[in-house]
Amino acid sequence: MNHRPFEDWLLDEKALASAEKRQMQAHLRECRTCSALAEVNIGLDAVRAVAPAAGFVDRFQVRLAAQRRLQRRMTAVGFAVLGISGLAILAWFAWPVLHGLLYTPSEPLTAWLTALTAIWATLQAWGRAGSVLLRVLPGFVWVSLVMAAVGWSLMWVVSLMKFAKIPQGVAR
């Protein structure tokens, strides 16, 4: 019998029948390659587990605590970097305005105040006009006005939808 089946039996760690065991023993007496393979199999089976030095769990807890501290520090540093970067970008964009404010503060301040005053005046005028109209116009006029506004809006929406469905300039 040739060498191959014995090597395969050893590599597959096949459970041998008694006749096969006898054949294997005879082969191992002659074949140094299979003999070494068998010794390696036995050697690997015989090697025992190695345990860590006492206190492994305590050392793990210490390492875990150190890792957490490091993580917290890194998070804090990350937030600081993010904050500083955000502020720097904001300053970069705001610089023209800030520059104007610092060197000629009256100009932008006057412009802002004027704009605020205009908005305030417009709101007041709308308020006064509304109260006058409420007092002057009868109820049915208000109803007709509201209905006209709703109808106008509906027409606007429908026409928009119609145009949106068929792209202009595109043939069917």
């Binding site: 023993q25 010794e39 025992r48 345990a51 492994f56 390492r63």
Partner: protein
């Protein structure tokens, strides 16, 4: 539900006490794997600690349908493989006399001479293991020390089952070749066919 499953669920919900119990339970298998992979107890301690830290960070992603020890050992094996690959770029020497191992004592050993020979053989096997390619070594360790099936090894090392099988065959052939080449006369007296295994 077993204690282990309960600890895993608790650990997944952020219970450090439960995770510590898992560390207590699996410290020896994880350390042993790292020791067999890296060859030195100091490096093994560091790698085992790192493997547990990685497991702690990723415990929420652990799929409870899978075997926990296989998942944990896979983390340790990958960590050791990475370490060994990085080591290739570094030059260092190992003073073997300074190596300290913490092998579990054999309570049944009555014959000191037999125990001495057994230890010598185990040291020899350990040194042979350290000459193997990291992934081959991991496959062999998972097979022999942890009785992992080829499917489990394939999952752990992200290989296909035929690749695992072929690696295991090739690795054992290579080990046998080195074993044969190293000291043929020293083994002339103890032939494997005399072992009860054959």
């Amino acid at each position: 539900m077993t204690d282990e499953k309960a600890w895993i669920i608790q650990a997944q919900h952020g219970d450090d006490e439960a995770f510590t119990r898992l560390v207590e339970t699996y410290q020896t298998p994880v350390f042993n794997l790292c020791y067999r992979m890296l060859g030195e107890p100091e490096a093994a301690e560091d790698a085992a600690q790192e493997a547990f830290l990685k497991a702690y960070k990723n415990i929420a992603r652990y799929d409870r349908e899978r075997s926990f020890p296989t998942w944990l050992l896979a983390i340790a094996a990958h960590h050791c493989i990475d370490k060994l690959r990085r080591r290739r770029y570094l030059t260092f020497s190992i003073d073997e006399d300074e190596e300290r191992t913490y092998e579990l004592p054999d309570r049944n050993a009555l014959d000191p001479e037999a125990e001495f020979i057994r230890r010598q053989e185990q040291d020899h096997m350990h040194k042979l293991l350290c000459t193997l390619d990291p992934t081959d070594r991991a496959a062999l360790i998972l097979r022999y020390w942890y009785d992992c099936s080829e499917v489990e090894i394939a999952q752990a090392l992200e290989l296909t089952v035929p690749a695992v099988k072929s690696r295991l065959h090739r690795t054992r052939r290579a080990l046998a070749k080195r074993y044969q080449d190293e000291a043929p006369e020293a083994r002339a007296e103890r032939r494997p066919y005399e072992s009860p295994a054959f």
